[in-house]
């Protein structure tokens, strides 16, 4: 395969790096052998699964409802999501969106009117960042 026809993705199960073809829709992780979904999803109806995981992006439209834990690159919520979210990129909740669940992501954006409720871990968390600001007495 030519180098420019591949891209690196991180496994949604084990975090291992895999080089995948630009147009591949799924691949087996070379580290944990589990199947990786690479596609983007647009959800405009009701969806409930045990785990909704993709190396691509998920858009939940205004009419969409997802009741499931989510592992994703970027997540956009215009409708409703109930479940814990782990994103490698950005979580975005628009003015019509509602996200209930714990959120782990480097970046979050909540538009005016958007609602979130849950425990958040946002940003890169370097070791001891808190202790540096608040030293133990």
């Amino acid at each position: 395969m030519e180098p420019d026809s591949t891209r690196p993705v991180l496994c949604t199960h084990c975090n291992g790096e895999n080089l995948v073809g630009k147009r591949a829709m799924s691949v087996f992780c070379r580290h944990c052998r589990k199947r990786l979904i690479l596609e983007d999803y647009r959800i405009n109806t009701y969806h409930s699964v045990r785990l909704f995981a993709t190396c691509g992006d998920i858009y939940v439209d205004r009419t969409g409802q997802v009741i499931s834990p989510i592992r994703v690159r970027n997540l956009t919520v215009q409708g409703k999501v109930k479940g814990d979210v782990e994103a490698r990129g950005r979580v975005e909740v628009t003015g019509t969106g509602e996200l209930r669940g714990d959120i782990t992501a480097p970046l979050i954006r909540v538009e005016e009117g958007g609602r979130i409720e849950g425990f958040c871990r946002i940003g890169a968390l370097p070791d001891n960042w808190l202790r540096a600001a608040f030293p133990v007495k």
Partner: protein
């Protein structure tokens, strides 16, 4: 003769300087800008700004809160909470609006929504229904 006011002074009649370390309970009518170190409770219907390099350990109830520095405590705003790129926050956050810049670090429980700051109650529950598997985007 009236002295011309810089916007910062107009917005923040009270400034806690970089050399100041304050412990206790603070109540303000208008804006507060924290440049130093504060330990305790802050209450203001106006804006609280925690500048870069400043630290606040304690709970805050304010109209709007902007964090450029470090906070350990719970923040509650009736309007907006802004976390800038240099912000570090450990604590719970309740606000009508949240703005988080890239680079900001935040860990804690988070309730955002127009009714969150007023009531703090849980959002209405979503419907339960049958299970369906998601379908990928058709290309």
């Amino acid at each position: 003769m009236a002295e011309p006011q810089t916007p910062a002074r107009g917005d923040f009649p009270t400034i806690i300087g970089p050399d100041a370390a304050f412990k206790g309970e603070l109540k303000f009518e208008k804006g507060v800008r924290l440049l130093g170190r504060l330990e305790g409770l802050v209450e203001s219907p106006g804006q609280l700004e925690i500048a870069e390099g400043a630290t606040l350990e304690g709970d805050v109830k304010a109209g709007n809160i902007r964090v450029d520095g470090s906070v350990k405590g719970n923040l509650r705003a009736s309007g907006k909470i802004q976390l800038s790129a240099s912000a570090k926050l450990e604590g719970d956050l309740t606000t009508a609006r949240l703005e988080v810049a890239e680079g900001a670090v935040f860990i804690g429980k988070c309730v955002v929504g127009s009714d969150a700051a007023a009531k703090g109650g849980p959002a209405p529950r979503m419907d339960d229904a049958a299970k369906h598997a998601p379908q990928p985007v058709k290309k």
